[in-house]
Symmetry: C2
């Protein structure tokens, strides 16, 4: 049995390129005691992976050169050497950018069996997985919105942003998305039910983007779920009401190493704002509650989501580079079966 | 009876200057029912006053042109038309930049009687007043330091910073001050008991200031009480440990309208930091507990403080401009009797 995988071939010096990745075909890995072999059905592509390509201080260790890129995956066990796991079990695990992954099933949480009867398997990589829990934690624990408040979400049509906005709507908030392109904005309002969505591609500077935000959020902004950073974050910041809260989840505009200054930092003081940076994997105690709620919402059709799927491991690097530029529309997945 | 006072003559276009102030001599104000007339003994000069000279969105209404500049004051009642207040009572109130002030004693908290037998009257403008409570609230409610953690305080020899550091030391923290000049740094370490103090005037750029901070805070920084902003804040930010907390109290480096970008904003995410801007007057529920603790610490000599006193209302503008440039050494007061 052969395994195709993508390894980090070189580190980006600025923008990541296809040259930074290498496709390899190797023998299927051996399965030691306590481990399982998983055939990956879907792997997830997420912006945080860009940070791990750098050899710099970050919240996770960098991927080593020549090492398989990490990724959340869903799949099926094809061989098990650990009691409680059997071939045919559907699981979610960090299988990485490859078709076959060996994982230590003895470690808590490393291989989690999932029920694909109520929601599709790949939803465990989206609204009922890491992106969904990220949205849930940032909104509920750091923005803590009250009914009637205005919440703004950047990257609103994405895997995280789309959940943030729908959860905030359910709490009675006025919800404004920021997304790139008329199609995404229409989807955010018409399908997801946000009150408004601002197409940042139409507004090249803070002044024009700010005017559009003012129209969409006439009472100012109380909560900001920030996925982007840079000019978009500064513009939102300048519209924050007193005592506003910012859940800082991602800075996709700066993942290629661009300077990422917060120009309007003065407002943090004058408006008495709170910014909280967070990583969802450090809030594991909240996952069960979040997943239970998200799973119910997806199973009952109350939480909508959208996927961008490419086929085959060889397509992963190009899809990932597109994700960093906002070319995906919904959760970016790679289908491997 | 005549009253000398300082009014706002014009708004600064950049740096504030003496021309922005005007000394006036007027008749002592009449005392309506429910009011008291206070002879001001000491008035407080504080950085926040600079913000109120601008006609821009801020946490407090701007001072109107021709209006008396606001200030916290301590003094003695010379005439009372409100039961419960009598001539000779020592009080703390927002008397403003003037020798005689009329205040509505019916409004809760507007005129507060104080006991000057245990601590000097003017301490109610410093460690047992707004600056002390600011330190207490920012440290205890927003930094929430644990024993063994490292806390860095900018403007460390000032009215707020000096209290922050002493309270943090009492909690078992490693405490590092940042101050301007060898005299201030020596005072912060030798008199106030900080573990170290970095003289920012010796280090013109982030690299050299950062090296000095590394030496003073070898385990990184867990809590930052920020009074200054700009390059100093960015340098501290770049040394923050994961899950660090920043209490954002002041941005004195930007009070003249300079751009005040946070260059290292990316670290808010990668280090999962929290920044909380705050204004102490919005946390009134905490004042009684804070004042009780601070009063006890001052009365028993456990909390040290230092004052910079100028004599006479006419000296106030120059002293205020000096305060904005860090020329004061300790709490800046104007003595009016």
């Amino acid at each position: 049995m052969k395994n195709q995988r993508i390894v980090l071939a070189s580190r980006p010096t600025a923008e990541a390129t296809l040259d930074n990745f290498r496709l390899e075909t190797v023998d299927a890995p051996a399965v030691p005691d306590g481990h399982v072999l998983v055939r990956v059905h879907y792997m997830s592509l997420d912006p945080y992976m860009r940070g791990r390509m750098n050899d710099t201080k970050n919240y996770a260790a960098p991927v080593a050169l020549g090492e398989v890129m990490g990724a959340g995956t869903v799949g099926e066990i094809v061989e098990s050497r650990q009691a409680g796991f059997a071939p045919g079990d559907k699981v979610v695990c960090m299988g990485g950018w490859q078709e076959l992954a060996v994982l230590d099933a003895r470690q808590p949480g490393m291989v989690r069996k999932i029920d694909a009867s109520q929601v599709p398997l790949q939803a465990y990589l989206g609204p009922v997985g890491m992106p969904g829990v990220t949205a849930w934690v940032g909104l509920n624990k750091f923005i803590e919105p009250k009914a009637g408040e205005t919440v703004v979400v950047s990257a609103a049509s994405g895997a995280v942003g789309s959940v943030v906005g729908q959860l905030a709507k359910a709490k009675g908030c006025h919800v404004v998305g920021i997304a790139g392109g008329a199609d995404k904005c229409a989807y955010v309002v018409d399908e997801l039910g946000f009150d408004a969505c601002v197409d940042y591609k139409q507004y090249p500077d803070e002044k024009s983007l700010g005017a559009a935000l003012d129209a969409a959020a006439p009472k100012g902004i109380d909560g900001n779920f920030e996925n982007v950073g840079g000019m978009i974050m500064d513009t939102v910041l300048s519209r924050m009401n007193a005592f506003g809260r910012i859940a800082l989840c991602g800075l996709i505009s700066g993942y290629d190493g661009q300077p990422l200054a917060l120009q309007n930092a003065r407002l943090l003081l004058t408006q008495r704002l709170r910014i909280q940076g967070f990583i969802v994997s450090e809030h594991m105690a909240l996952w069960p509650e979040a997943l239970a709620e998200l799973g119910m919402l997806v199973a009952t059709g109350k939480l909508k989501y959208r996927e961008s799927v490419v086929q085959g491991i060889a397509a992963a690097p190009q899809a990932f580079l597109g994700l960093l530029k906002g070319k995906n529309f919904g959760k970016q997945l790679v289908k491997l079966v």
